[in-house]
Amino acid sequence: MITLIKEESFKLLHKRSTPAITIILLVLMTAFGVLAKSYPKFYSPRTLFVQSFTGDSWVVLFMIAACSSIIAMEFQYGTIKEVLYRKYYRGQILVSKWLTMLIYSIYLFALVFVYSLILKFVLFNNTFDLGRKYGAEHSVFTSFSYTLIGDFVGLWLILSLVLLLANIFKSSAAAISVGIIGYFALGVIAGLMTLAIQKWNWLKWNPLNMMNLSGQMNTPSMSKVTMLSTPELAWGSLAYTAIFLAISYVVFKRRSV
């Protein structure tokens, strides 16, 4: 399995987009940091820090693209045959791809975490204090950490769906579209969903509602809207992730290539 993860990482690292993404991510975060420094009235430095200078939102987009391509490229390039006709079990090959993506997403989140702190100390050392209260419950630093953790769990809920779609359609375009649309759809239909949940209680278990996890971790009163407790949201997200990955596994094992 370690050999397979090494192979997947080798492929990932040799794609030109991989180093580019790290650089783009840092540039974008720096740009938002500088904006907040220059126009603190429009961009509150504290709020931007809690949102990791928009870093974690970009990571979602980059990871959606990476996950769809790690599966779909093998079909697109015809390399799936070479990848599969070896001594390894199919399941191992798929799981090695997931683990590579998990490592990649942890790397990107760690990068966002560390670089947000660097930006905070370089640009806003005296502007705000990490220990000060932010919002209703937690300190700035805790809110920042909770947002990242919540977003990470939410990210993997989306990624498990993207991995499944890439597997079914064998095309990254379809998987990327659904992933990104799904991610933004939440904001658009949030209001509608709240109404629907009030009317039909069981709808609170729908996967889009689970995406509110990071919000509710910072603002516990959101549970009045989501109708679920924070642990319920966390377990729900993990359960959906597991379900989508399990379907992927079955699809991949049965596929004739």
């Binding site: 040799h14 390039y77 006709y85 199919r90 049965r254």
Partner: protein
């Protein structure tokens, strides 16, 4: 359990796409160290068989074993001994040729072993270039190198001559024959029968998903007639004389004598000269793989299902 000389055994393989049967009761064996040609018309099921052997395809029923170990999409252990190129080479455009070989070679493969196949395939000039700059032939060579880099016991090549220039074609033939001498087994499909003819020991012919012929090349050659074709000043008279003297003639407009062990050219010339028939030209015609194969496929009794 197969005997030790059999490296690949395919038994009663069946496969359908919906109601269309693509493989029907396909059984054949491949002997260790042999080069076996898998031939048949387009859509006969050659690639499907190869994919099934590689554990890429689910099949409805049947059994495949390599070196005595069962192979299926869920059982891949025997694949450690197999190298393959199926349909077209799978190439990552963002990797160089060398990186491909490194990626798909087993852990701890020395650089010398990788460079050995690079040299044999004469790919040294571009092996460190990104594969997106490769021509069709270069990609094909890389695909073949990928199939051979781990020095497998069994090599499965689907149309390996695709896109290769005449020199590369000859190089490939030399490599295959050398490896076979050292004990590597090959299963090769190709439409270029004249190329295949120079390589294979045994032939498996498939048509409409069924095996219609499985024999050694030698048997196929022996089975086909050798002919002496004569051009004479008076063909009809020549035919009469030859028939009267006990020669067997092939059904043809030309004077075509079926060659037998005791057929001697001087006897025929003397016989015809004695009757005042001039011989303008003589040709030995030996039916090649193409002719034999086309005849075989024409005569076969496989019905479309």
């Amino acid at each position: 359990m197969a005997d030790t000389d059999t490296i690949l055994q395919v038994e009663h393989l069946n496969k359908s796409f919906g109601s269309k049967k693509v493989l029907q009761d396909v059984s054949f064996t491949v002997q260790r160290g042999h080069i076996v040609g898998l031939v048949g018309p387009n859509g006969a099921g050659k690639s499907t068989i190869m994919k099934a052997i590689l554990g890429l395809f689910n099949y409805s029923s049947g059994h495949i074993s390599i070196d005595g170990e069962a192979v299926s999409p869920t059982s891949h252990k025997a694949m450690d001994k197999v190298g393959a190129l199926i349909e077209y080479p799978g190439i990552y455009p963002f990797l160089t040729g060398y990186q491909h070989l490194k990626l798909f070679s087993k852990d701890g493969t020395p650089k010398a072993q990788i460079m050995d196949i690079v040299d044999k395939m004469k790919m040294g000039g571009y092996i460190n270039r990104k594969a997106k700059t490769y021509s069709l032939g270069m990609k094909q060579k890389l695909g073949i190198a990928l199939a051979l880099v781990n020095r497998p016991d069994l090599v499965i090549l689907d149309e390996p001559m695709n896109g290769l220039d005449p020199q590369a074609n000859k190089d490939l033939r030399t490599i295959i024959l050398d490896l076979a001498k050292q004990g590597t087994t090959f299963l090769i499909s190709s439409h270029i029968l004249s190329e295949l003819e120079k390589l294979v020991d045994d032939l498996v012919v498939i048509d409409k998903g069924q095996i219609v012929y499985q024999e050694s090349m030698a048997a196929l050659e022996n089975g086909s007639a050798k002919l002496l074709i004569l051009k004479t000043s008076n063909d009809s008279k020549a035919k009469d004389i030859l028939t009267q003297n006990g020669y067997e003639l092939s059904q043809s407009d030309q004077v075509a004598v079926v060659e037998k062990a005791d057929t001697k050219m001087p006897d025929i010339i003397k016989l015809l000269s004695a009757s005042d028939i001039d011989i303008d030209d003589v040709q030995h015609v030996h039916s090649d793989l193409e002719t034999s194969l086309l005849k075989l496929l024409q005569n076969d009794k496989v019905k479309e299902s």
